[in-house]
Amino acid sequence: MRNILFAVAILLAGLGLSSPYHFQLLTFIGIHTLLALGLNMLMGYAGQISLGHAAFYGIGAYTTAILTAHFNWSPWLALPAALFLAVLIAFLVALPMLKLSGYYLGMGTLGFGMITYVLIREWSGFTGGDSGLVGIPPLDIGPVCLSSGRACFYVVWGTVVLGFIVCERLVNSRVGRALRAIHDSEQAACAMGINTAQLKISVFMLSAFLAALAGFLYAHLVSFISPNTFDFLTSIRIVTMVVIGGMASIWGSLLGATLITLLPEWLHIFSDYEMVVYGLVLMVIMIFLPQGLTRGLLDIYERSKRRAGVPSTTAKG
Protein backbone atom coordinates (compact mmCIF):
# COMPACT_ATOMS: atom_id res chain seq x y z
CA MET A 1 0.00 0.00 0.00
CA ARG A 2 2.69 2.48 1.04
CA ASN A 3 4.68 1.40 -1.99
CA ILE A 4 1.74 2.11 -4.29
CA LEU A 5 1.38 5.61 -2.81
CA PHE A 6 5.12 6.04 -3.20
CA ALA A 7 4.97 5.01 -6.87
CA VAL A 8 2.03 7.37 -7.50
CA ALA A 9 3.92 10.22 -5.82
CA ILE A 10 6.90 9.55 -8.09
CA LEU A 11 4.69 9.46 -11.16
CA LEU A 12 3.08 12.79 -10.24
CA ALA A 13 6.41 14.39 -9.37
CA GLY A 14 7.76 13.35 -12.77
CA LEU A 15 4.76 14.88 -14.54
CA GLY A 16 4.66 18.03 -12.45
CA LEU A 17 8.31 18.99 -12.59
CA SER A 18 9.94 20.64 -15.56
CA SER A 19 13.21 22.19 -14.40
CA PRO A 20 16.25 20.11 -15.49
CA TYR A 21 17.93 21.10 -12.23
CA HIS A 22 15.16 19.52 -10.18
CA PHE A 23 15.22 16.36 -12.27
CA GLN A 24 18.96 16.07 -11.87
CA LEU A 25 18.79 16.59 -8.12
CA LEU A 26 16.00 14.04 -7.72
CA THR A 27 17.85 11.54 -9.88
CA PHE A 28 20.88 11.81 -7.60
CA ILE A 29 18.67 11.42 -4.56
CA GLY A 30 17.33 8.23 -6.11
CA ILE A 31 20.81 6.84 -6.78
CA HIS A 32 21.88 7.71 -3.25
CA THR A 33 18.74 6.06 -1.89
CA LEU A 34 19.75 2.81 -3.60
CA LEU A 35 23.21 3.04 -2.05
CA ALA A 36 21.80 3.79 1.40
CA LEU A 37 19.21 1.03 1.07
CA GLY A 38 21.89 -1.56 0.34
CA LEU A 39 24.09 -0.43 3.18
CA ASN A 40 21.11 -0.29 5.53
CA MET A 41 20.39 -3.97 4.89
CA LEU A 42 23.96 -4.74 5.92
CA MET A 43 24.47 -2.17 8.67
CA GLY A 44 21.03 -1.36 10.00
CA TYR A 45 19.53 -4.83 9.86
CA ALA A 46 22.45 -7.24 10.15
CA GLY A 47 24.63 -4.88 12.22
CA GLN A 48 27.76 -5.26 10.07
CA ILE A 49 29.53 -2.01 9.30
CA SER A 50 31.11 -1.26 5.92
CA LEU A 51 33.29 1.80 5.43
CA GLY A 52 34.17 0.82 1.89
CA HIS A 53 30.80 0.71 0.24
CA ALA A 54 31.74 3.19 -2.49
CA ALA A 55 33.94 0.42 -3.88
CA PHE A 56 30.92 -1.57 -5.09
CA TYR A 57 29.36 1.62 -6.43
CA GLY A 58 32.59 2.15 -8.36
CA ILE A 59 32.85 -1.46 -9.52
CA GLY A 60 29.32 -1.25 -10.92
CA ALA A 61 29.97 2.06 -12.65
CA TYR A 62 33.40 1.22 -14.09
CA THR A 63 32.47 -2.28 -15.25
CA THR A 64 29.59 -1.02 -17.32
CA ALA A 65 31.57 2.04 -18.47
CA ILE A 66 34.52 -0.03 -19.69
CA LEU A 67 32.33 -2.65 -21.38
CA THR A 68 30.15 -0.10 -23.18
CA ALA A 69 32.64 2.67 -23.96
CA HIS A 70 35.70 0.52 -24.80
CA PHE A 71 34.13 -2.70 -26.04
CA ASN A 72 30.85 -1.36 -27.44
CA TRP A 73 28.69 -3.72 -25.42
CA SER A 74 25.03 -2.87 -25.08
CA PRO A 75 24.36 -1.42 -21.61
CA TRP A 76 21.75 -4.11 -21.08
CA LEU A 77 24.43 -6.77 -21.54
CA ALA A 78 26.86 -4.83 -19.37
CA LEU A 79 24.30 -4.61 -16.56
CA PRO A 80 24.33 -8.31 -15.58
CA ALA A 81 28.11 -8.35 -16.03
CA ALA A 82 28.54 -5.38 -13.69
CA LEU A 83 26.18 -6.83 -11.10
CA PHE A 84 27.77 -10.25 -11.31
CA LEU A 85 31.29 -8.89 -10.90
CA ALA A 86 30.33 -6.74 -7.89
CA VAL A 87 28.54 -9.63 -6.20
CA LEU A 88 31.43 -11.99 -6.93
CA ILE A 89 33.96 -9.55 -5.47
CA ALA A 90 31.66 -9.01 -2.48
CA PHE A 91 31.64 -12.76 -1.92
CA LEU A 92 35.41 -13.04 -2.11
CA VAL A 93 35.90 -10.05 0.17
CA ALA A 94 33.25 -11.16 2.66
CA LEU A 95 34.65 -14.65 3.00
CA PRO A 96 37.61 -13.61 5.16
CA MET A 97 36.35 -10.16 6.18
CA LEU A 98 33.04 -10.96 7.88
CA LYS A 99 34.87 -13.04 10.44
CA LEU A 100 35.80 -9.62 11.85
CA SER A 101 33.34 -7.53 13.76
CA GLY A 102 32.90 -4.04 15.12
CA TYR A 103 35.83 -1.64 14.62
CA TYR A 104 37.92 -4.32 12.98
CA LEU A 105 35.34 -4.95 10.29
CA GLY A 106 35.17 -1.16 9.82
CA MET A 107 38.93 -1.01 9.27
CA GLY A 108 38.89 -4.04 6.97
CA THR A 109 36.19 -2.64 4.71
CA LEU A 110 37.89 0.76 4.79
CA GLY A 111 41.03 -0.89 3.43
CA PHE A 112 39.06 -2.66 0.72
CA GLY A 113 37.48 0.66 -0.33
CA MET A 114 40.87 2.31 -0.57
CA ILE A 115 42.40 -0.52 -2.61
CA THR A 116 39.52 -0.35 -5.06
CA TYR A 117 39.83 3.43 -5.32
CA VAL A 118 43.58 3.23 -6.00
CA LEU A 119 43.04 0.50 -8.61
CA ILE A 120 40.46 2.61 -10.41
CA ARG A 121 42.73 5.65 -10.35
CA GLU A 122 45.96 3.92 -11.36
CA TRP A 123 44.73 1.39 -13.92
CA SER A 124 44.47 4.25 -16.37
CA GLY A 125 44.64 2.15 -19.55
CA PHE A 126 41.16 0.87 -18.77
CA THR A 127 39.66 3.41 -16.44
CA GLY A 128 41.12 6.64 -17.79
CA GLY A 129 42.74 7.23 -14.41
CA ASP A 130 42.37 10.63 -12.81
CA SER A 131 41.05 12.28 -15.96
CA GLY A 132 38.03 9.98 -15.90
CA LEU A 133 36.22 7.90 -18.46
CA VAL A 134 34.11 9.64 -21.11
CA GLY A 135 31.71 8.49 -23.79
CA ILE A 136 29.49 6.15 -21.79
CA PRO A 137 26.38 5.69 -23.90
CA PRO A 138 22.97 6.61 -22.47
CA LEU A 139 20.43 3.90 -21.79
CA ASP A 140 17.80 3.19 -24.38
CA ILE A 141 14.94 0.77 -24.82
CA GLY A 142 14.58 0.05 -28.51
CA PRO A 143 14.13 3.43 -30.19
CA VAL A 144 13.36 5.26 -26.93
CA CYS A 145 16.40 7.02 -25.54
CA LEU A 146 16.38 7.44 -21.78
CA SER A 147 18.78 10.34 -21.54
CA SER A 148 16.32 13.18 -20.94
CA GLY A 149 15.93 14.48 -17.40
CA ARG A 150 12.44 13.09 -17.02
CA ALA A 151 13.33 9.65 -18.43
CA CYS A 152 16.37 9.38 -16.13
CA PHE A 153 14.19 10.32 -13.22
CA TYR A 154 11.70 7.57 -13.99
CA VAL A 155 14.34 4.92 -14.58
CA VAL A 156 16.08 5.65 -11.29
CA TRP A 157 12.99 6.00 -9.17
CA GLY A 158 11.38 2.95 -10.76
CA THR A 159 14.46 1.03 -9.63
CA VAL A 160 14.17 2.55 -6.16
CA VAL A 161 10.55 1.38 -5.85
CA LEU A 162 11.58 -2.12 -6.91
CA GLY A 163 14.45 -2.04 -4.43
CA PHE A 164 12.07 -0.99 -1.67
CA ILE A 165 9.63 -3.78 -2.43
CA VAL A 166 12.40 -6.38 -2.50
CA CYS A 167 14.00 -5.17 0.74
CA GLU A 168 10.69 -4.78 2.55
CA ARG A 169 9.74 -8.34 1.70
CA LEU A 170 13.12 -9.59 2.82
CA VAL A 171 12.98 -7.71 6.10
CA ASN A 172 9.56 -9.13 6.96
CA SER A 173 10.55 -12.71 6.22
CA ARG A 174 12.42 -15.53 7.86
CA VAL A 175 15.64 -14.16 6.35
CA GLY A 176 15.05 -10.63 7.63
CA ARG A 177 14.28 -11.83 11.13
CA ALA A 178 17.48 -13.86 11.11
CA LEU A 179 19.42 -10.74 10.07
CA ARG A 180 17.95 -8.70 12.89
CA ALA A 181 18.65 -11.57 15.26
CA ILE A 182 22.34 -11.45 14.34
CA HIS A 183 22.30 -7.73 15.06
CA ASP A 184 20.81 -8.19 18.54
CA SER A 185 22.84 -11.21 19.66
CA GLU A 186 25.03 -13.22 17.37
CA GLN A 187 25.52 -15.85 20.06
CA ALA A 188 21.78 -16.41 20.46
CA ALA A 189 21.27 -16.32 16.68
CA CYS A 190 23.74 -19.18 16.40
CA ALA A 191 21.93 -21.05 19.16
CA MET A 192 18.73 -20.77 17.07
CA GLY A 193 20.47 -22.66 14.29
CA ILE A 194 21.15 -19.64 12.10
CA ASN A 195 24.25 -20.07 9.97
CA THR A 196 25.43 -16.57 10.83
CA ALA A 197 28.60 -16.65 8.72
CA GLN A 198 26.71 -17.63 5.58
CA LEU A 199 23.91 -15.15 6.18
CA LYS A 200 26.32 -12.26 6.73
CA ILE A 201 28.06 -13.08 3.46
CA SER A 202 24.70 -13.21 1.64
CA VAL A 203 23.57 -9.83 2.92
CA PHE A 204 26.97 -8.34 2.07
CA MET A 205 26.45 -9.59 -1.48
CA LEU A 206 22.96 -8.12 -1.56
CA SER A 207 24.22 -4.72 -0.49
CA ALA A 208 26.99 -4.89 -3.10
CA PHE A 209 24.35 -5.76 -5.70
CA LEU A 210 22.33 -2.64 -4.89
CA ALA A 211 25.46 -0.45 -4.85
CA ALA A 212 26.57 -1.80 -8.23
CA LEU A 213 23.08 -1.18 -9.60
CA ALA A 214 23.35 2.42 -8.41
CA GLY A 215 26.79 2.63 -10.07
CA PHE A 216 25.39 1.29 -13.34
CA LEU A 217 22.62 3.89 -13.38
CA TYR A 218 25.00 6.67 -12.41
CA ALA A 219 27.47 5.84 -15.19
CA HIS A 220 24.85 5.79 -17.94
CA LEU A 221 22.92 8.81 -16.76
CA VAL A 222 25.94 11.06 -16.28
CA SER A 223 27.94 9.54 -19.19
CA PHE A 224 31.22 10.58 -17.55
CA ILE A 225 32.78 9.05 -14.43
CA SER A 226 35.97 9.77 -12.52
CA PRO A 227 37.57 8.04 -9.51
CA ASN A 228 36.71 10.78 -7.01
CA THR A 229 33.03 9.86 -7.10
CA PHE A 230 33.95 6.53 -5.53
CA ASP A 231 36.45 7.59 -2.90
CA PHE A 232 36.55 7.23 0.85
CA LEU A 233 34.38 10.30 1.40
CA THR A 234 31.57 8.74 -0.61
CA SER A 235 31.71 5.64 1.58
CA ILE A 236 31.43 7.84 4.65
CA ARG A 237 28.58 9.78 3.08
CA ILE A 238 26.62 6.56 2.50
CA VAL A 239 27.16 5.57 6.14
CA THR A 240 25.97 9.04 7.17
CA MET A 241 22.80 8.63 5.09
CA VAL A 242 22.00 5.38 6.84
CA VAL A 243 22.71 6.69 10.33
CA ILE A 244 20.93 10.02 9.86
CA GLY A 245 17.96 8.46 8.11
CA GLY A 246 17.60 5.63 10.57
CA MET A 247 19.29 2.27 10.99
CA ALA A 248 17.11 -0.72 10.26
CA SER A 249 14.58 1.41 8.43
CA ILE A 250 13.92 1.12 4.72
CA TRP A 251 12.24 4.51 4.55
CA GLY A 252 15.07 5.92 6.62
CA SER A 253 17.36 5.23 3.66
CA LEU A 254 15.20 7.52 1.55
CA LEU A 255 15.11 10.24 4.21
CA GLY A 256 18.85 10.05 4.86
CA ALA A 257 19.76 10.08 1.17
CA THR A 258 17.42 13.01 0.56
CA LEU A 259 18.79 15.08 3.41
CA ILE A 260 22.45 14.39 2.69
CA THR A 261 21.95 15.18 -1.02
CA LEU A 262 19.89 18.32 -0.48
CA LEU A 263 21.77 19.78 2.46
CA PRO A 264 24.78 21.03 0.44
CA GLU A 265 22.38 22.62 -2.06
CA TRP A 266 20.49 24.46 0.65
CA LEU A 267 23.63 25.48 2.50
CA HIS A 268 25.11 27.35 -0.45
CA ILE A 269 23.80 30.55 1.11
CA PHE A 270 26.29 30.13 3.96
CA SER A 271 29.09 30.17 1.35
CA ASP A 272 32.36 29.94 3.34
CA TYR A 273 30.66 28.47 6.38
CA GLU A 274 28.82 25.80 4.40
CA MET A 275 30.74 22.82 5.80
CA VAL A 276 30.52 24.18 9.35
CA VAL A 277 26.74 24.42 9.17
CA TYR A 278 26.59 21.02 7.47
CA GLY A 279 28.48 19.45 10.35
CA LEU A 280 26.35 21.28 12.89
CA VAL A 281 23.12 20.03 11.34
CA LEU A 282 24.38 16.44 11.51
CA MET A 283 25.48 16.89 15.13
CA VAL A 284 22.16 18.34 16.19
CA ILE A 285 20.23 15.50 14.54
CA MET A 286 22.42 12.87 16.21
CA ILE A 287 22.17 14.54 19.64
CA PHE A 288 18.41 14.91 19.61
CA LEU A 289 17.43 11.96 17.42
CA PRO A 290 20.18 9.40 18.02
CA GLN A 291 18.03 6.69 16.39
CA GLY A 292 17.94 8.67 13.15
CA LEU A 293 15.20 10.69 11.54
CA THR A 294 12.62 7.95 10.96
CA ARG A 295 12.76 6.30 14.38
CA GLY A 296 13.25 9.66 16.12
CA LEU A 297 10.22 11.27 14.52
CA LEU A 298 8.13 8.15 15.16
CA ASP A 299 9.17 8.16 18.82
CA ILE A 300 8.18 11.80 19.21
CA TYR A 301 4.84 11.02 17.62
CA GLU A 302 4.24 8.01 19.90
CA ARG A 303 5.29 9.90 23.00
CA SER A 304 2.86 12.70 22.27
CA LYS A 305 0.12 10.15 21.65
CA ARG A 306 0.89 8.36 24.91
CA ARG A 307 0.88 11.61 26.85
CA ALA A 308 -2.56 12.28 25.46
CA GLY A 309 -4.05 8.86 26.14
CA VAL A 310 -3.30 5.43 27.58
CA PRO A 311 -0.29 4.90 29.87
CA SER A 312 2.26 2.28 28.85
CA THR A 313 0.94 -1.27 28.79
CA THR A 314 1.49 -4.07 31.27
CA ALA A 315 0.14 -7.49 30.46
CA LYS A 316 -0.69 -10.73 32.17
CA GLY A 317 1.87 -13.17 33.49
Binding site: S173, R174, R177, A178, C190, M192, K316, G317
Partner: protein, 263 residues
Protein backbone atom coordinates in the same frame (compact mmCIF):
# COMPACT_ATOMS: atom_id res chain seq x y z
CA UNK B 1 11.15 -41.35 39.68
CA UNK B 2 13.44 -44.31 40.17
CA UNK B 3 10.80 -46.35 38.32
CA UNK B 4 11.28 -44.16 35.32
CA UNK B 5 15.03 -44.65 35.56
CA UNK B 6 14.64 -48.41 35.54
CA UNK B 7 12.24 -48.30 32.66
CA UNK B 8 14.38 -46.00 30.52
CA UNK B 9 17.64 -47.60 31.49
CA UNK B 10 17.32 -50.08 28.65
CA UNK B 11 17.16 -47.40 25.96
CA UNK B 12 20.45 -46.14 24.53
CA UNK B 13 21.40 -42.76 26.00
CA UNK B 14 20.42 -39.64 24.05
CA UNK B 15 23.62 -37.92 25.12
CA UNK B 16 26.92 -39.42 26.13
CA UNK B 17 29.80 -37.25 27.25
CA UNK B 18 33.04 -39.25 27.14
CA UNK B 19 35.91 -38.14 29.39
CA UNK B 20 35.85 -34.57 28.17
CA UNK B 21 38.70 -32.22 29.14
CA UNK B 22 39.03 -28.53 28.42
CA UNK B 23 41.63 -25.99 29.54
CA UNK B 24 41.63 -22.23 29.10
CA UNK B 25 45.19 -21.00 29.32
CA UNK B 26 46.49 -22.51 32.55
CA UNK B 27 43.07 -23.21 34.02
CA UNK B 28 41.72 -26.73 33.71
CA UNK B 29 38.00 -25.99 33.36
CA UNK B 30 37.01 -29.63 32.84
CA UNK B 31 38.99 -32.76 33.56
CA UNK B 32 37.88 -36.11 32.14
CA UNK B 33 34.18 -35.66 32.78
CA UNK B 34 31.88 -38.45 31.63
CA UNK B 35 28.14 -38.90 32.00
CA UNK B 36 25.11 -40.18 30.15
CA UNK B 37 21.62 -38.78 29.75
CA UNK B 38 18.78 -41.22 29.12
CA UNK B 39 16.05 -40.02 26.75
CA UNK B 40 12.98 -38.53 28.40
CA UNK B 41 14.70 -37.68 31.68
CA UNK B 42 15.65 -34.52 33.50
CA UNK B 43 19.34 -34.42 34.31
CA UNK B 44 20.80 -31.70 36.54
CA UNK B 45 24.39 -30.52 36.66
CA UNK B 46 25.31 -28.83 39.91
CA UNK B 47 28.46 -27.58 41.54
CA UNK B 48 30.00 -24.47 43.06
CA UNK B 49 30.80 -21.45 40.87
CA UNK B 50 33.70 -22.17 38.55
CA UNK B 51 33.09 -25.92 38.64
CA UNK B 52 32.93 -26.04 34.83
CA UNK B 53 29.17 -26.31 34.33
CA UNK B 54 28.84 -23.65 31.65
CA UNK B 55 31.98 -24.93 29.91
CA UNK B 56 30.34 -28.35 29.77
CA UNK B 57 27.24 -26.77 28.19
CA UNK B 58 29.30 -24.90 25.65
CA UNK B 59 31.06 -28.10 24.63
CA UNK B 60 27.82 -30.07 24.28
CA UNK B 61 26.24 -27.32 22.16
CA UNK B 62 29.33 -27.01 19.97
CA UNK B 63 30.38 -23.49 20.95
CA UNK B 64 33.91 -24.84 21.22
CA UNK B 65 35.40 -28.33 20.92
CA UNK B 66 36.80 -30.22 23.90
CA UNK B 67 40.60 -30.58 24.12
CA UNK B 68 40.10 -34.27 24.68
CA UNK B 69 37.18 -36.67 24.80
CA UNK B 70 34.02 -36.77 22.76
CA UNK B 71 30.32 -36.04 22.73
CA UNK B 72 27.93 -38.62 21.33
CA UNK B 73 24.40 -37.43 20.66
CA UNK B 74 21.74 -39.84 19.38
CA UNK B 75 24.40 -42.49 18.59
CA UNK B 76 26.36 -39.96 16.56
CA UNK B 77 29.75 -38.43 17.34
CA UNK B 78 29.13 -34.66 17.20
CA UNK B 79 32.50 -33.38 18.36
CA UNK B 80 33.58 -30.49 16.14
CA UNK B 81 30.11 -29.87 14.70
CA UNK B 82 29.09 -26.22 14.50
CA UNK B 83 26.47 -24.79 16.83
CA UNK B 84 23.87 -24.26 14.10
CA UNK B 85 24.30 -27.82 12.81
CA UNK B 86 23.68 -29.23 16.28
CA UNK B 87 20.51 -27.14 16.59
CA UNK B 88 19.14 -28.75 13.46
CA UNK B 89 20.02 -32.16 14.93
CA UNK B 90 17.84 -31.25 17.91
CA UNK B 91 20.06 -29.69 20.59
CA UNK B 92 18.72 -26.37 21.92
CA UNK B 93 19.83 -24.20 24.81
CA UNK B 94 19.07 -21.18 26.94
CA UNK B 95 21.66 -18.83 28.41
CA UNK B 96 22.67 -17.99 31.95
CA UNK B 97 22.24 -14.26 31.36
CA UNK B 98 19.22 -14.48 29.02
CA UNK B 99 20.17 -13.74 25.43
CA UNK B 100 16.98 -12.52 23.79
CA UNK B 101 16.75 -10.51 20.60
CA UNK B 102 15.99 -7.34 22.52
CA UNK B 103 14.88 -5.14 19.65
CA UNK B 104 12.46 -7.74 18.35
CA UNK B 105 8.98 -8.50 19.60
CA UNK B 106 8.15 -11.46 21.83
CA UNK B 107 6.50 -13.21 18.88
CA UNK B 108 9.43 -12.51 16.57
CA UNK B 109 11.83 -14.05 19.07
CA UNK B 110 9.90 -17.32 18.89
CA UNK B 111 9.65 -17.04 15.10
CA UNK B 112 13.45 -16.85 14.89
CA UNK B 113 13.50 -20.01 16.98
CA UNK B 114 11.81 -21.84 14.11
CA UNK B 115 14.50 -20.75 11.66
CA UNK B 116 16.06 -24.17 11.49
CA UNK B 117 12.74 -25.95 10.86
CA UNK B 118 11.69 -23.67 8.00
CA UNK B 119 13.25 -23.00 4.64
CA UNK B 120 12.23 -19.70 3.03
CA UNK B 121 15.41 -18.08 1.67
CA UNK B 122 16.26 -14.80 -0.09
CA UNK B 123 14.48 -15.72 -3.30
CA UNK B 124 11.45 -17.17 -1.54
CA UNK B 125 11.11 -14.03 0.57
CA UNK B 126 11.26 -11.74 -2.47
CA UNK B 127 8.81 -13.73 -4.61
CA UNK B 128 6.62 -14.55 -1.59
CA UNK B 129 4.77 -17.36 -3.31
CA UNK B 130 1.92 -19.38 -1.78
CA UNK B 131 4.19 -21.87 0.00
CA UNK B 132 6.11 -19.06 1.65
CA UNK B 133 2.93 -17.45 2.92
CA UNK B 134 1.70 -20.81 4.15
CA UNK B 135 4.99 -21.45 5.94
CA UNK B 136 4.85 -17.99 7.52
CA UNK B 137 1.28 -18.58 8.72
CA UNK B 138 2.17 -21.96 10.21
CA UNK B 139 5.18 -20.41 11.94
CA UNK B 140 3.00 -17.78 13.53
CA UNK B 141 0.43 -20.31 14.68
CA UNK B 142 3.06 -22.55 16.23
CA UNK B 143 4.77 -19.57 17.88
CA UNK B 144 1.51 -18.48 19.46
CA UNK B 145 0.97 -22.02 20.75
CA UNK B 146 4.38 -21.97 22.39
CA UNK B 147 3.77 -18.52 23.88
CA UNK B 148 0.49 -19.76 25.28
CA UNK B 149 2.33 -22.77 26.71
CA UNK B 150 4.69 -20.53 28.71
CA UNK B 151 1.95 -17.97 29.45
CA UNK B 152 3.20 -15.09 27.33
CA UNK B 153 0.62 -15.05 24.54
CA UNK B 154 -0.83 -11.85 25.96
CA UNK B 155 2.36 -9.89 25.34
CA UNK B 156 3.25 -11.31 21.91
CA UNK B 157 3.60 -7.87 20.34
CA UNK B 158 5.72 -6.30 23.07
CA UNK B 159 9.39 -5.64 22.62
CA UNK B 160 11.13 -8.54 24.35
CA UNK B 161 13.52 -6.27 26.25
CA UNK B 162 10.52 -4.50 27.83
CA UNK B 163 9.41 -7.69 29.62
CA UNK B 164 10.16 -8.21 33.33
CA UNK B 165 13.20 -10.41 33.82
CA UNK B 166 11.28 -13.51 34.89
CA UNK B 167 9.14 -13.39 31.77
CA UNK B 168 12.24 -13.05 29.64
CA UNK B 169 13.43 -16.39 31.04
CA UNK B 170 10.14 -18.03 30.05
CA UNK B 171 10.34 -16.43 26.62
CA UNK B 172 13.82 -17.84 26.17
CA UNK B 173 12.47 -21.31 26.93
CA UNK B 174 9.64 -20.85 24.41
CA UNK B 175 12.17 -19.71 21.81
CA UNK B 176 14.37 -22.75 22.47
CA UNK B 177 11.34 -25.04 22.17
CA UNK B 178 10.56 -23.45 18.80
CA UNK B 179 13.66 -25.17 17.40
CA UNK B 180 11.80 -28.45 18.14
CA UNK B 181 14.64 -29.90 20.21
CA UNK B 182 15.06 -33.46 21.45
CA UNK B 183 17.59 -32.27 23.99
CA UNK B 184 17.17 -28.95 25.78
CA UNK B 185 19.97 -27.49 27.88
CA UNK B 186 18.99 -24.85 30.40
CA UNK B 187 21.72 -22.73 31.98
CA UNK B 188 20.49 -21.64 35.44
CA UNK B 189 16.85 -21.23 34.38
CA UNK B 190 15.70 -20.26 37.88
CA UNK B 191 18.27 -17.59 38.63
CA UNK B 192 16.58 -14.24 39.02
CA UNK B 193 13.13 -15.79 39.40
CA UNK B 194 10.97 -15.26 42.49
CA UNK B 195 9.50 -18.18 44.45
CA UNK B 196 6.23 -18.25 42.50
CA UNK B 197 8.01 -18.10 39.17
CA UNK B 198 10.45 -20.82 40.23
CA UNK B 199 7.55 -23.10 41.09
CA UNK B 200 5.94 -22.40 37.72
CA UNK B 201 9.28 -23.12 36.06
CA UNK B 202 9.39 -26.52 37.77
CA UNK B 203 5.92 -27.37 36.49
CA UNK B 204 6.81 -26.12 33.03
CA UNK B 205 9.95 -28.28 32.87
CA UNK B 206 7.93 -31.35 33.91
CA UNK B 207 5.46 -30.49 31.17
CA UNK B 208 8.25 -30.15 28.60
CA UNK B 209 9.66 -33.53 29.60
CA UNK B 210 6.23 -35.09 29.18
CA UNK B 211 6.22 -33.78 25.61
CA UNK B 212 9.24 -36.01 25.00
CA UNK B 213 12.06 -33.49 25.34
CA UNK B 214 15.10 -34.56 27.35
CA UNK B 215 16.34 -31.85 29.71
CA UNK B 216 19.76 -31.07 31.09
CA UNK B 217 19.94 -28.14 33.46
CA UNK B 218 22.59 -26.31 35.36
CA UNK B 219 20.94 -24.97 38.51
CA UNK B 220 21.76 -23.52 41.90
CA UNK B 221 18.24 -23.68 43.31
CA UNK B 222 18.47 -26.96 45.26
CA UNK B 223 14.79 -27.43 46.02
CA UNK B 224 13.97 -27.12 42.33
CA UNK B 225 16.83 -29.39 41.29
CA UNK B 226 16.09 -32.08 43.87
CA UNK B 227 12.38 -31.89 43.12
CA UNK B 228 12.39 -32.42 39.37
CA UNK B 229 15.64 -34.17 38.46
CA UNK B 230 15.91 -37.87 37.71
CA UNK B 231 19.67 -37.80 37.98
CA UNK B 232 22.21 -35.27 39.18
CA UNK B 233 25.83 -34.80 38.17
CA UNK B 234 28.01 -32.93 40.65
CA UNK B 235 31.04 -31.09 39.30
CA UNK B 236 33.76 -29.72 41.53
CA UNK B 237 36.81 -27.88 40.22
CA UNK B 238 36.31 -29.30 36.76
CA UNK B 239 36.02 -32.90 37.90
CA UNK B 240 33.08 -35.22 38.37
CA UNK B 241 32.55 -35.47 42.10
CA UNK B 242 29.46 -37.64 42.15
CA UNK B 243 26.49 -38.75 40.09
CA UNK B 244 23.21 -40.32 41.08
CA UNK B 245 19.59 -39.82 42.00
CA UNK B 246 18.70 -36.77 44.10
CA UNK B 247 18.47 -38.98 47.21
CA UNK B 248 21.92 -40.48 46.61
CA UNK B 249 23.44 -37.05 46.03
CA UNK B 250 21.89 -35.62 49.18
CA UNK B 251 23.47 -38.42 51.20
CA UNK B 252 26.86 -38.28 49.48
CA UNK B 253 29.69 -37.41 51.88
CA UNK B 254 31.98 -35.90 49.23
CA UNK B 255 29.21 -33.65 47.95
CA UNK B 256 28.29 -32.46 51.41
CA UNK B 257 31.87 -31.59 52.29
CA UNK B 258 32.45 -29.83 48.95
CA UNK B 259 29.36 -27.73 49.44
CA UNK B 260 30.13 -26.92 53.05
CA UNK B 261 33.72 -26.11 52.15
CA UNK B 262 35.38 -28.92 54.13
CA UNK B 263 38.25 -30.76 52.55
Amino acid sequence: MSDRNAELGSLPPLLRVESVSKAFGGIQALHEVSFEVAPGTIHAVIGPNGAGKTTLFNIITGAYPPDEGGVVYAQQEVRGRKVHELVSLGIARTFQNVELFGNMSVLENVLVGQHVRTRCGFLGAIVRGPWVRREERQMREYSMELLEFVGLDGVADHRSSDLPFGWQRFLEIARALATRPRLLLLDEPASGLNAVETQRLGELLEEIRKRGVTLVLVEHDMSLTMGISDRILVLHQGKKLAEGTPREIQANEAVISAYLGKE
